[in-house]
Amino acid sequence: MQEWANQLCENRQFGSKMTDSKYFTTTKKGEIFELKAELNSDKKEKKKEAVKKVIASMTVGKDVSALFPDVVNCMQTDNLELKKLVYLYLMNYAKSQPDMAIMAVNTFVKDCEDPNPLIRALAVRTMGCIRVDKITEYLCEPLRKCLKDEDPYVRKTAAVCVAKLHDINAQLVEDQGFLDTLKDLISDSNPMVVANAVAALSEIAESHPNSNLMDLNPQTINKLLTALNECTEWGQIFILDCLANYTPRDDRESQSICERVTPRLSHANSAVVLSAVKVLMKFMEMLPKDLDYYGTLLKKLAPPLVTLLSAEPELQYVALRNINLIVQRRPEILKHEMKVFFVKYNDPIYVKLEKLDIMIRLASQANIAQVLAELKEYATEVDVDFVRKAVRAIGRCAIKVEQSAERCVSTLLDLIQTKVNYVVQEAIVVIKDIFRKYPNKYESVIATLCENLDSLDEPEARAAMIWIVGEYAERIDNADELLESFLEGFHDESTQVQLQLLTAIVKLFLKKPTETQELVQQVLSLATQDSDNPDLRDRGYIYWRLLSTDPVAAKEVVLAEKPLISEETDLIEPTLLEELICHIGTLASVYHKPPSAFVEGSRGVQHKRLPGSTESGESESPDTTSAAAVSDAPPAVIPSQGDLLGDLLNLDLTPPTTTGPPPPASSGMQMGAMDLLGGGLDSLLGGDLGGSPAIGAGFGAPPAAMPASFSAPVSGGLDDLFDLGGGVGMPMGAYSAPKTVWLPAMKAKGLEISGTFARRSGVIQMEMTLTNKAMSVMTDFAIQFNRNSFGLAPAGPLQVLTPLNPNQSIEVTLPLNTVGPVMKMEPLNNLQVAVKNNIDVFYFSCQYPISMLFVEDGKMERQVFLATWKDIPNDNEAQFQIKDCHLSSDAASNKLQGSNIFTIAKRTVDGQDMLYQSMKLTNGIWVLAEMRVQAGNPVYTVSLKCRAAEVSQWVFQSYEAVLKN
């Protein structure tokens, strides 16, 4: 009692201050008690003060839900401020007290009829925020009236309310016809109403990508453009973003829209400016390049982009990420604006890094001197990340602008002289790239580089230095000593360095065979016998065999001329760039990823494309895909002397001329390694290696990607040793169904294709048997997929190297990736395939098990699982039963794990095991599962929860298939 009295006094004291902080009293029980009394006071003023105290507590996160009935009692009032405060409270707590919230409904309905439009709007607005089903039922009638209210302020508020209601109960909104009313509001006479209707429709459309809500036609576009001039800045953003989804019929319409959008570039709100830039960048694609207006438009785009850079740093950052896209697509817009990207020392680091990136993109012969001077300045800054990037940028300049290469190299040498450790390491890495771009030009600097050998402690720099020593071994007198010094700690090095060292010493040996025999023996045995790394062992064996069989051939292979590296290594792939240009100003543009890649499941499966851009896309952007593959790969053994290599390996490997571009380094390497085994391994076994047992063990682990040709006949007695190609390599691997006939011979002029899908070591594979049942030889096979639900696409060409003779079959494995174009298919897992050969093109469709899309990192953390499970609405839950399954829960869990269905937790209740499982699809959709297994009962129950409910059925099929096989 005493304490309670003290409490009261204390509260009074606080109450005497004039500010809102008086509302902060302690959280002890006395406070709630006292507030309750005040709320029920007869005096209006006291009531209001009490509600204010309640709100203040709520704002700082205290729980005052216990006062619900008392606060609601204050709702019936003429005092607008009190009403607003009560509404604020209701929005926060109605969800936790749904039964009490019903008490408020009558007042809401009455307020919706109030003569004051402010009160009508307030009521409809608040009702929409109360996310309680029982209340939403009562909301429909008032909302319908408000959508047709005479006062535009009420109409515009009601428009937003439709979006709120849709979020709570989409079905209700559709049944009540609110969507149509909302669409009508696009033609409203008041621009604010139009803007809000557009905003509401866009939000609804976003959660239902296929609903086709915003059907844009020239009439609606015209209305939007009219409203654009008159509505608020925020409304302009909604309208511009909506306009960007429209595809004009022809270039004249395109131009007229652009003309009406350009004034927005002078808006003070940067979001308006960027949305306008998006519309213009997109519609510009449709304008003929020789049009005067096209040039005018290009000129108009530069100043607003530059202005964005004088805004607050957060705005600058988003602007810079977008400018990065724009300069890749249309470098001409900002080519004269290099200086605005110069870094100031007090820019935040995230702005500095972005500016640097754009500087490189804009670097050209005209401005390279300026850029280099700047970069050199940056290389002496404080921030390590920034300095590293600046040094790298100098290297990129050298590679991009040939005329500047010499200055870049000398700048880099100056920087090496500073002896700052990380600067030296970065410089060496980029100098390696410069050597690859301009061979035999700057080797005079090697001596300087060698002086810094000891200070290198980062793998990338060590690897780069070793590469340089190996590549130019003949010009470095003590190359053998240098490399030998690295060899001492061979096993402590990272793989990158080990591989590089192996190659470098082999190169050295081929160049100076007399003095280095011992060294090469040493490195080969280190790589093949003492290492657990399959890549390293494989490469070691190749070299060993090459050297022991035919040193001349080895020389031709290892010292073959390397392809030059291309100019820019980090350009965004053109189709992705096109898509991102359509998303300027969005999160996608900040992350430089398509929305489907990172926005959670269920939505965003639509890929946007620039209109009419196919031809311009090809003509303007350099081919970057091949460049990316070559750029940073280690000096590759590219079989330029294919037939010779073929002879060497006793295999009829067709000369590379027919396979088109040389295969990427790593896969070429592996194919070589496996083929080698087929050939004369016996001689190796009998010879140099002396039957070392390491080989058997060494090949026990399957290589990452098994090339098609591996299943070709393997010679001699090694069959049993290496029959892992048959499937032993995947003891607990993913389940794959037996092959079925996809394309019967009679439908395809004698070509029969049967196949299945599998996921092996993280690679989705399409395994096919092609059988020639015709009379003539088949050649020139190729394959293509139609767009499909998960963007499956062949990761390489169909590897049928030899002609397929009549009555012959060939097994082909086609690795797939999931970066292809996306289109929702019916059924979801349907895949339409076209196969071509010298005779004709054939089409068939097949269905793939969804389990092969389960990725390896699909194990969700427990906490996240719990939260996600709660988060996904119950409507999305699907329950299935699997009958006749006799596995124990552990065995089932093991089996499922092989197919990347991960068991996160297990609970046993009354003899029933509950397994909680997660899996993730290649497009980032998570599926959560609860599997119940009762000992002795062959019927399992599986409940699946997923944001994209339509996949559940197919996931269930996968469960059944995996568990029963």
């Binding site: 003023e45 704002t59 402010l118 302020y153 709120k164 925020w234 004088s310 110069f342 999160l587």
Partner: protein, 418 residues
Amino acid sequence: MIHSLFLINHLGDIFLEKHWKSVISRSVCDYFFEAREKAVDPENVPPVLQTPHHYLISIYRGKLFFLSVIQTEVPPLFVIEFLHRVADTFQDYFGECSESVITDNLVIVYELLEEMLDNGFPLATESNVLKEMIRPPNILRSVVNTLTGGSNVGETLPQGQLSNIPWRRAGVKYANNEAYFDVTEEIDAIVDKSGTTVSAEIQGVIEACVKLSGMPDLTMSFMNPRLLDDVSFHPCVRFRRWESERVLSFIPPDGNFTLMTYHISSQNLVAIPVYVKQSINFFEAGSCGRLDITIGPKQTMGKTVEDLKVTIHMPKAVLNANLTATQGNYTYDCTTKMLVWDIGKLNPQKLPNLRGSLSMQTGVPNPEENPSLNIDLKIQQLAISGLKVSRLDMYGEKYKPFKGVKYVTKAGKFQVRT
């Protein structure tokens, strides 16, 4: 759309949260705190963060983080602009934007936030409109309110909300009608150690304080409008008139507002008002350094340079500075490593000089980086770009207003490298 807002102080306490849709737990901020920790300086926290289920977009203003949580694809600039607008509104209402004023006015803040955003869509962000709906606090009113039971929430729908000029409130009346314009230009420049200008640009802004009765329609014209090719306007400016006649024609909001901002790029010749002769050297042997800086006028168009100040962020190894200034005072803060030389007015006859020695930490290698000099200055009655307002006319109202235009040039991010 914008889902929730958290206000976080520099200690990392969340002192206000507001949710416009369902309630999101504060724990979502943990991802932000992690990034905050990593960034070391609060200025370096990346403005857009991705978490498993949400995106966090934040701004840093007045030592506070405004952190918004969003769940669906929303243009990040839209969010950032809105957050700055929230901060501006607090500034406007309470005179400053700090934790203490916000907690002192929690209820008004909460009412404001509710009024600014509905379901994540901006509702009313114009200060003219907001002030009609929620009156800013002042001591007199709170006394009157407590006596009469009045409220600080407007009872009627603000007129401006739906008209074609949402920015202006109706029924404005003043005894003295006046319109003042401040043309302020800031020079952003990088000058290298030899004194050559690496880049220089001007950020200009015209701020207005318009207190005119009724519905005045103003027209402002310039002597040399050709200077302005990169401009952003307040929504009140009629863009077509600008395009065709190069005059600013507008019905102004009531009170203070930014009429336009403009940018004069480094492709134009930007005058640099002062030159700096400097040498800063560090000696390995004696663990000391020397510093010698002289500043003189360059292109000042005959005006006086005032409030001249040089700020240098010294390398960590500099322990103290022992300098003599021929004019003004210098201070060296050895914790933040900031050397500030406050010069004041620049006298062309007797150039200010600062020289002396720097004591360095022994046993530490020479600093690799060269400190940059940051220059602050002010020149009254001059717009360094040469921009001049030629006339200001008023239509639509009968009375004769007082008019005035003031010019001032300042240094923005003016850096001299060494």
